[in-house]
Structures are given as C-alpha cells and as structure tokens.
C-alpha cells in the first residue's frame, strides 16, 4: 500500500495542508474545555456576567475559525484523494497495457476489472479519510493528554497508560482484518467474473436452460461473500466497544485519582471536570475514528491488491531499441526466422511448440496448417511477441525479436486475430488503430482488399458508421473482414492472419487471397488455416502436428512426402470427390 504513495507527487502541498488545517480545527476544539473551566472557576464564583458573555463569544469565535479551517481541510483532502486516485487509475491502466499475454492469462480479466474499479474507489475513500484524520485524531488524543498534564501530572498519568492500550487495540484489530478484507475483495472478483460470464455466455446458458443453475452458482459465491463480509464485520465492530470500555475505565480511574487529589487539597473540583472533559473528548474522537478505521483498513487491503498489479512485470525480456530502429529494420521488407524455438505456456505440463526451425524470406507467403491444438496459433503469436519463446530464438530481419520493443514491433506487423473483436466507436476509429492519420483513400483501399468495401459502402454513414461494443451490430463474417481491413491499413511489411477467414465463404476467401498476393508492399505473410484450399497457393507451407514441425514445402512437395499434410488434404477433398 505504502508504495502507492509515489502517486501523491504533485499533491504534497495539499497533503500537508489538509491535515494541518484539520489539526488547527482540533486545536481550537481543545481550547474549549479550558474556556469552560475558566467559566466554572472564575465566572460563576465571582458572578461576573460580562466575563461570562465574553467567554461565550470566544467560544463562538473559535467555532467560526474552526469552520474555516475545516472547509479548507476538506477541500484539500478531497482534491488530493480524487487526484491521487485518478493518477493511480491512470497508471494502473497504463501498466495493464504493458503486461504480456502470459500475465493477463494468469490474473484474469475480472480481477483486473475489480482492481480498476472497486479497489480504487475504496482507496479514494481511504485517502480522503486518512488525510482528514491522520493528524487530527492523534493530535486530539495526545493534545488532550498534554493538556491534562498541565492540570495535574499524577491524575494525567492515567492518560499515558490508556493511550498505548488503545493503540494496541486499534492496530491489533486493523492487522487482523486487513487480510480478511483482502479475501472479501477476492470474492468480489469471483462475483464479478460470474456476472460477466452470464453476460457473455447468455445464448449458451439459455440454450441449455441453465439459468437456474447459473443463479444457483452465483448465489453460492454471493453467499460466501456475504458470510465473509459479516465475519470481518464482526471483528472490526469490536473496535468501538473496546475503546469505549477502556476509556470509561480511564474515566473511573481519573475521577477516583481526582477525588484523592482533591481530598488532599492538591486539585480543585473544576480541574477534575476539565480532566474529565479531556477524557470525554478522546472518547468522542476515537469513536469517530473507529468507524473510519474500518474504511481505512479496507482501503489498505485494496491498496495492496492494486500494488500487486504494479508489481507484475511483463515477462517479456526488456530491450533498449527504439521505435525508429524497428521501422528501419522493416524498411526493406521483413524476413522471419525461427531458430530451434521451443515454447511452453506457464504452468503447462508439456511443450506447446517443440524445436521449430524455419525461415521465411521477405515477400514470401507462408501457410501454417495442422490439427486442432497443434500449436498453429502459438507459433504465430511468438512473432509479434505476444509471448516470448521459452528457448531458441525468433528473429525478424536477422535480429532477435527480444531486441525489439513489443509495441513498436506490433505497430509494424499487421495481425488479424482468430477472434474478431471490434471496439465501440466507428468503422473509421476501428480501422485507424495502427495508423491514426490514415486517409480515407487508405481506409477504402484496405476495406477493398479485405473484401469489406461493398457492405461498408452500403452503410448509411460509410466509414463513420457506428460500431457497438465488441462489434455486436455486425455479423460474424462482416466483423472478420473488418478486422482484416484493420490489419491492412498502413501497409505493414509483415502480415499474420490467424485463421481469420474461417467465417468467410470460399469465394470471399479466394478473393482475399488474390488481393493479399497483389499487395504493393509485398509483405511477408503468415496464413494460418484449416483449409488446404486457402493455403495451397502459398510459397511454402509449414505442417504442424502436436507442436512439432513435421513438414515444410510447397503444396505439391508436401503432398508427395508429408503424410500428415496428405491426410489433411484428403480429408478435405476426397470426401467431396466421393460425394459428387
């Protein structure tokens, strides 16, 4: 949590001013019993009404001054808390962008979302309260103690005894409940995750009539969360009664000691009243604090969760190169080389790719084919460094990809992912992903290459037609073509199409392949597909089987010597020949 304090930078002034004003206000409050004692000890016995009125006006003046201080304090506290949290959220979002696929896989989207939302909200709350109370409460407590000492040292020693006991209680309960609050937030992750799943999987859930079961699953988690909240609630609820009892014991001790001292003639009755008032003030302050401590405790638990994300670092190796060097390397066209590459997913029991070697020259079209789960997608995801190879090296333009910064590298590569995702906005905003200043001509060019020009032309708003979240307002095939167009904008020198034509009909697929072959920049192109028909015109085809490269060559070559390839081919054409 404390490591998050670096985001306070820029708010140091407010950070000091808020508690300071708060303290000033508390200081004024501490003066009140003194004034009252003066009223009791001087005003009443002498029946001095003028003095009494002056003293009471003084109280009102203190109140007014307190108000001013307090408003300033609240403003600075609110400003700091909100500004701090906005900065944390910004940094957290930026940091999440820098994590590699491996970390994203592990942490999970839902947990990232709760940390961005619920956890940061709680932190904002906590910072706001802490700033208001960080100095005020100890100040009031210790101030009351010091004031008590000025009245009578012996009687005041009870304060010195009670305050450490109170601190132990407060910190003990905090320490006990922080991990429990963390647990509650983890439960919240799960509840959020189930909510999301029920939104994304609504069709399947309804198709299988699983509504009831899903509700049941949700309720189970929801109940667990409520149970844990109640559990931690019970513990933190101890704070208030405990402090109350301890302080009242203090008051009893105080009055008794006071009585003994008065009896001995060392103290006046008014002094005992003043001492008692100070103790009451501590009580009021601590009861106020107790409610807030619960909040602060929660915030610390949440802060730790946020900090945990900041401590996740991209597992991709760091590199020194700049974007320019990538552009330079790609200028003459890109070639790709896999040198004894082995890749294993984290926590997986077996290699996903095993000892892969091949080279692809600039301008070459490489087909990648293989069975379900054979490692096709994993292979191409090593090129833009979505993952780093476990051993061996992937080289682009004779340079290890680990020497390229991931973002610059990806900017230079056109990737069409398997799952066609569009973002809310317009068609234009989706197409301009990689190249923000692309002209209309460039966009239409890309759309036409991706066989998407026709339907976009037919949209009333053309390039500015709205796209809803996830592209839900387009059919699967349309989405896929738009994602292809998105990759083509900016004429990348390296293209990766990861089974991205699966929702396209054959005619469109064929037209797309022809268009790709005619690209002016002559890119190095990786085509992943199930269909031999989509790949057979490729310059070279890589055949994967269970993570191993079992064949490499042209369609004809592979047909003659690669058993796996021939099986794939036969499975697609024999049956059709047979049924004809």
């Amino acid at each position: 949590m404390f490591k998050l304090l670096r985001f306070m930078k820029g708010y140091q002034k407010e950070c000091v001013l808020a508690p300071l004003f708060k303290m000033l206000e508390a200081f004024l409050e501490l003066l009140v019993p003194l004034v009252v004692a003066a009223v009791i000890d001087n005003g009443i016995p002498h029946k001095d009404t003028g003095y009494l009125i002056r003293m009471c006006l003084l109280l009102v003046f203190f109140g007014l001054l307190g108000l001013t201080c307090s408003v300033c304090a609240q403003y600075f506290a609110a400003k700091t808390a909100v500004g701090f949290t906005a900065k944390v959220r910004h940094a957290l979002f930026a940091h999440m962008q820098s994590l590699s696929y491996a970390e994203l896989d592990r942490i999970g989207t839902s947990s990232l979302i709760t940390r961005m939302t619920s956890d940061t909200n709680q932190i904002q709350n906590g910072v706001n309260l802490t700033l208001r109370l960080v100095l005020r409460s100890p100040f009031v407590v210790f101030g009351a103690m010091i004031m008590a000492f000025t009245i009578d040292v012996k009687a005041a020693s009870i304060f010195a005894l009670i305050i450490p006991v109170l601190s132990v209680i407060i910190f003990g309960i905090m320490l006990r409940s922080i991990p429990l609050y963390r647990q509650v937030q983890i439960r919240l992750d799960q509840v959020l995750s189930l909510t999301r799943q029920n939104l994304t999987g609504v069709r399947v859930i309804r198709a299988f009539c699983k509504e009831e079961e899903q509700i049941h699953r949700f309720e189970e988690k929801n109940n667990k969360m409520a149970a844990e909240q109640k559990h931690v609630g019970r513990i933190s609820a101890l704070l208030n009664p405990f402090t109350y009892v301890v302080i009242n014991l203090g008051i009893i001790g105080l009055v008794y000691t006071g009585a003994v001292r008065v009896d001995a003639g060392v103290l006046t009755q008014g002094a005992v009243v003043a001492l008692y008032n100070y103790m009451s003030q501590i009580l009021v302050e601590l009861i106020k604090l107790a409610n807030l401590i619960i909040n602060i405790t929660k915030s610390i638990a949440c802060g730790n969760r946020v900090q945990a994300i900041f401590e996740e670092h991209s597992s991709l190796a760091l590199c020194e190169e700049t974007c320019e060097s990538v552009a330079e390397a790609f200028a003459k066209g890109a070639c790709v080389e896999f040198d004894h590459v082995t890749f294993r997913y984290r926590d997986a029991s077996a290699d996903m790719l095993h000892d892969i070697c091949f080279t692809a020259a600039a301008g070459e079209t490489i087909g990648v084919i293989g069975g379900t789960g054979s490692g096709k997608s994993s292979l191409v995801s090593l090129i833009p460094r979505f993952y780093d190879a476990t051993s061996g090296s992937v080289k682009i333009c004779n340079k290890n990809v680990k020497d390229f910064p991931p973002d610059a590298l990806r900017r230079a590569i056109g990737v069409v992912p398997q799952h066609p995702v569009l973002f809310s906005g317009t068609i234009r905003s989706n197409l301009c992903f990689r190249k923000e200043d692309a002209t209309d001509e460039e966009l239409w060019e890309a759309l036409s290459l991706a066989q998407a020009e026709d339907f976009v032309r037919r949209l009333p708003d053309g390039l500015d037609a709205p796209v809803s979240q996830g592209g839900k307002n387009f059919s699967g095939g349309q989405r896929q073509r738009l994602t292809i167009a998105r990759a083509l904008v900016g004429n990348p020198k390296l293209l990766i199409l990861d089974d991205s034509a699966s929702a396209l009909d054959y005619a469109t697929d064929a037209a797309l392949r022809r268009a790709l072959a005619s690209l002016p920049q002559n890119p190095c192109c990786f085509l992943v597909s199930q269909r031999t028909a989509s790949l057979m015109h490729a310059d070279r085809i890589l055949v994967l089987d269970d993570g191993k490269l079992v064949g490499e060559g042209t369609h004809e070559q592979l047909l003659s010597f690669c058993k796996v390839y021939r099986e794939i081919y036969d499975s697609q054409f024999k049956k059709e020949a047979h049924t004809k």
Binding site: L59, G63, G201, Q229, T372, G373, G476, D505, A507
Partner: protein
C-alpha cells in the same frame, strides 16, 4: 424518484424486520446506558467537594455503577453492529441475486445493445457503494436519533429551561445539512454514471487486451480511458467536497449552540438552580446531543451517494424483462421435430426490416442447410427458432405447438445448439460437457467425448476431465473449444439440432472423423445447419438459399443447380476453387 428508491430499499429491508427491530432495541438500550454513564460520573464528581470533603463511599458506588453500565453498553453496541452487518450484507446479497436473476430474464435485445461493463458496474460497484452507505446509515442513524431523543429526556430532567435553548437551536444544523445534501444527490448521480462509463471502457479495453496489444493501440486506449478518468475525477471532486461540507457547517452550528448552553448554564449556576457537577454533566450532554446531529448530517451526505447508486441498480432491475412464459404455457415434451414458420417477420430495429413474410415447413428428421451471403439473416433465423428473440409478426410452430405457447425452457431443451462463437464457463471440463445433461454417467460422458474426438486432447490436459478452465477458456485453442461445445450437444442429444458454423475452427481431419458421429447424431433429428463447407450442404435434404431476409430458393442441391438461379451462382463462385482443387 428519490422517494421511490427509498421505498424499494425499505422493501428489501422488509424481510429483516425482526433483526431491524432487535437492532433498534439494542440501540435504544445501549444509548440509554451510554447516556446514563455521564450522569453517574457527574454524581461522582459532585461527591468531590474540596479538601478533606470527599464522600469516598458514595464515589465508589457511583463509579462502580458507571463502570458496569459502560461494560453493558459496549456489549450491546457490539451485538448491534453484528446485526447491522448482517442486515446490510444480506440485503446487498439479495439485491445482487435479484440482479443475476434479472439478467437471466432480460431479453437478448437488451443485452445485445448494452455495454456489459455498465451492467457489471451497476451490479458490483454501485451495490458496493450502496452497502457502505446503508451500513453507515444503520450504525449512525439509529444510534443518532436515539441519542438525540435520550439526551433530550435526560436534559429535561436536569434543567428544562436550558434544554429549551438546545432544542430550539440544534435543528438549525439539520436545515443546513439538508440544504447541502439536496445539492449533492445530483453530483453523486453524475459520479455514479461516469463510473459506469469508465467500467464500460475498462471492460472493453482490458477485456480485449490481446487485440489492443496486437495493434499497439495501448496509447490510444489510454487516451480514451484518461478522458473518462478525468471526467470522473471532476465529478468525484465535486461530490466529495460538497458532501464533506455538511460536517463542518453543522459542527459550527453546534459549537454555537454549545456556547449558548454554556452561557445559559453559567447564569443558571450563578442563580443557584444547577450545581457545578450538574453543569459539567449538562455541557457534556450538549456536546453529546450535538454529536449525532453532526453524524446524521454526515450520513445524510453518504446516503445521497448510496441512494444515487441504488437508483442506478433499481433502474437496471426495472428494465423490461422478456415477456414471461404464459402461465398456462405447455411444457413441450420430446418432440418429433416438425417445424413450421408462417408469415414470419422480424427486425432488430423497427425502421430496418430484416425478415419479411417468411414461410417454411420442415418435416421431422430432415436436414436443412441454410446458405446465403453474410448478413442475409441466417443467424437471425436461429435466434428466432431458439426464441432468443420473438417474431414481430407470424408464428413458429413445433409439432403444431406455437413457440409462444410453450415454455422457453422446454422449447430450448428440444434443441441442441453449437455456435461458431464458443462459450465455456469457468469450471472443469467435465462441468462444461455435462451442462445439458447433469446426470450423465462417466461412461456416457467419455463416449460423447470420444465421438466428438475431444477425448484424446482432454486426456492430454494436466488433470484430464477435471482440468479447470479459466474465465474464457483461454488455455484451449479455438478448435478445442469448439470440440467441447460439440461434445456438450452429443451428450444430451435433443430431437432438433442447430449447427451454426459448428466446425469452422476444427481441422478437417478431425472434422471428417466426427462427421460420422454427426451423421449418426443427425439421423432422425431435424437439423438446421449453417455452413460453408460443401459436404455438409450437399448432404442436406433441403437447402434454403437466403438473401436479404428472404428465402429466394429452396430444394436439394441437384434441383437448385438445375434451377440455374442464385444458388448456382453462389455455388459456382463459392465452391469453384474447391472443385478445381480436387481435379488436381
């Protein structure tokens, strides 16, 4: 609006009536005790008169009573807090459960057109804020009100005149609090709405982080995020600052009251109508009396936030659910599979009609292939068959029963559906497979997995069938996910099948292998198949050629080719490359 929300909240609280009453009782007793303690302490102080003039036995007695009362009060306070916790967290749990139940009942048209992030934000963040407000409300409002009433009684007993001063002046603070709180509700609402928008952005960007990174779109994503983040910071600052003004202002009002009491009390003491001990006790009451006003006013601000969040939540709960099943809707038993569409019209948006006047008759056991260019309405047809959407006009009948007259659940149980977009739930492979038939035996499950050729890859996973899949099943390849979805249907074998590009991500060797199982499965079952692969289409009993929401041609493959129409054109353009492939 505000009142409506409060009423809804009270409704939820209704089932905890007994706990609420108990909590109130505890509050009353513990407050009475906490108020009684200073009286005893005051009396104890009154025994201390001066040097050599202290009545120690009376002192001990008063202090012992005070101590006992303090202990009891503490115990009751704790009990009350436990009960308040229970009520709050259980009410919140109930609201969330209701939200989940509501999600299950929402029409797909709602879910398809709303950002998931905003819904998630309502169910998670808004409810959370509401819980915080509610708990704070309970803890402070109850004790606050009772403290005010209690102190009034005790003060009246001590000195009616000074009490009058207090009573007349203190409500001032409530006016001030109310004035400020009224202004903050809108600010809290704005904060909550912006928070929802931010969650939608987070959901979209973080949820699709892979794509964002693939396009090095991080900076732009951050810019989009920052825009909302800045707006949120502004709303938040406003709401936080203005709501936090309540406390200092009421405190100022109260310190003025305190000064007035001190003055009145001092005069009373001069006049001899109150003792010094009595005055100190009175002043402590005045402080205590003011305190709940401070707290309540703070709570009022907090409650504005809670109410703004609750309103958003109820807003969601109030969104129109799909028309519920007719109360006397029949339960569709296992059907033969005759499907009839008559005069069906449908559109997603009223101004843009998609399907018009569609008629179709399918006899039981037939295999129907649907082809046509993208966006022609293939998926929509499936949405209508499964009753994800209701037809705008016309009727769909299964074995003569109109789909509107049977329960949705029984209708959908008769369909087995495999979609191109695979969805797996978080859980084990086993749980995912037996979704449609929870009572399936191990043998049945393995048989289904073998038929769909998923068995071998499942066995290769670290824990076989008990491997836990993460949220999106990201550890599996797209094809493997599709195999699992097919296994799911193979296991429950309903009388009608819908396969929307069911094998698009599966390699063709495996596809051929499962094709036999598919053929066996489809035998005797009415099947609707959307596919691009020729083999599936040509084996169909009937091919529907769709274009712009209409069936333009239908018949067997051979018949359609002979018609020399749109299908022939489609066939030649689409399948020509394949046909030429086989001549090699």
């Amino acid at each position: 609006m505000n009142r409506e929300t409060i009423k809804r909240v009270l409704n939820y609280l209704g089932s905890y009536r007994r706990y609420l009453a108990f909590s109130l009782l505890l509050a009353a007793v513990s407050v009475a005790l906490t108020l009684y303690v200073p009286i005893r302490v005051g009396q104890a102080i009154d025994t201390i008169l001066g040097k050599g003039n202290v009545d120690f036995s009376a002192l001990f007695f008063h202090l012992a009573v005070a101590g006992g009362c303090a202990l009891c009060a503490a115990l009751l306070q704790w009990l009350m807090a436990v009960i308040n916790n229970k009520i709050t967290y259980e009410v919140v749990r109930d609201i969330r459960s209701d939200a989940m139940k509501h999600i299950q009942k929402l029409p797909l048209s709602y879910l398809d057109s709303h950002a998931y992030g905003d819904i998630v934000s309502r169910v998670i963040a808004d409810v959370d804020q509401f819980a915080d407000g509610l708990l704070m409300g309970f803890t402070n409002l109850f004790t606050g009100v009772i403290t005010i009433l209690g102190t009034l009684v005790f003060m009246l007993l001590l000195d009616p005149l000074i009490t009058l001063v207090v009573v007349l002046l203190t409500p001032l603070s409530l006016f001030v609090a109310r004035f400020i709180a009224n202004h903050t509700y809108e600010m809290f609402r704005a904060q909550s709405v912006t928070r929802g928008q931010q969650t939608a952005v987070i959901e979209e960007m973080i949820g699709n982080q892979r794509v964002v990174q693939a396009f090095a779109y991080e900076k732009k994503a951050l810019a989009v995020f920052d825009e909302v983040n800045d707006r949120l910071a502004k709303c938040s600052l406003q709401a936080t600052f203005y709501s936090s003004l309540v406390n200092p202002t009421t405190r100022f009002v109260n310190s003025t009251v305190y000064a007035a009491v001190a003055l009145a009390g001092a005069f009373a003491a001069i006049g001899g109508s109150i003792t010094i001990g009595g005055l100190s006790c009175f002043l402590s009451y005045a402080g205590q009396y003011a305190k709940p006003f401070n707290e309540i006013s703070g709570v009022v601000a907090e409650l504005q936030n809670a109410l703004a969040c609750a309103a958003r939540m109820f807003d969601f709960l109030d969104s129109t659910a799909q028309t519920p099943d007719d109360p006397d809707a029949a339960v569709l038993q296992t059907v033969a599979g005759n499907v009839e569409l008559s005069q069906v019209s449908f559109s997603y948006k009223p101004e843009q009609s998609l399907i018009e006047n569609l008629n179709l008759q399918v006899e039981a056991g037939r295999r129907i292939a649907i082809v046509g260019p993208t966006g022609c309405g293939k998926t929509t047809l499936i949405n209508l068959l499964m009753r994800f959407y209701d037809t705008v006009q016309g009727d769909i009948r299964i074995d003569g029963h109109s789909v509107r007259n049977v329960t949705r659940a029984s209708l959908r149980k008769n369909f087995g559906m495999v979609l191109q977009e695979t969805w797996l739930m978080q859980g084990t492979i086993r749980e995912n497979i037996v979704m449609g038939k929870p009572d399936a035996t191990e043998e049945e499950m393995i048989a289904a997995a073998k038929a769909s050729h998923a068995h071998s890859f499942i066995l290769r996973l670290p824990k076989g069938y008990d491997t836990v899949l993460s949220e999106n099943g990201d550890e599996l390849s797209q094809g493997q996910k599709q195999l699992l979805c097919i296994t799911r249907v193979m296991l429950c074998l309903p009388p009608m099948l819908i396969l929307d590009e069911a094998t698009s991500s599966i390699d063709t060797r495996t596809e051929i292998k499962i094709q036999d199982a598919f053929s066996r499965m489809m035998k005797g079952r009415t099947s609707f198949i959307v596919a691009h692969r020729l083999s599936t289409i040509r084996d169909a009993d009937r091919i529907l050629v769709m274009k712009d929401g209409h069936i333009v041609e239908q018949g067997t493959h051979q018949e359609l080719l002979e018609q020399n129409g749109f299908y022939k054109h489609l066939y030649e353009s689409q399948f020509a490359p394949v046909a030429s492939g086989q001549t090699r």
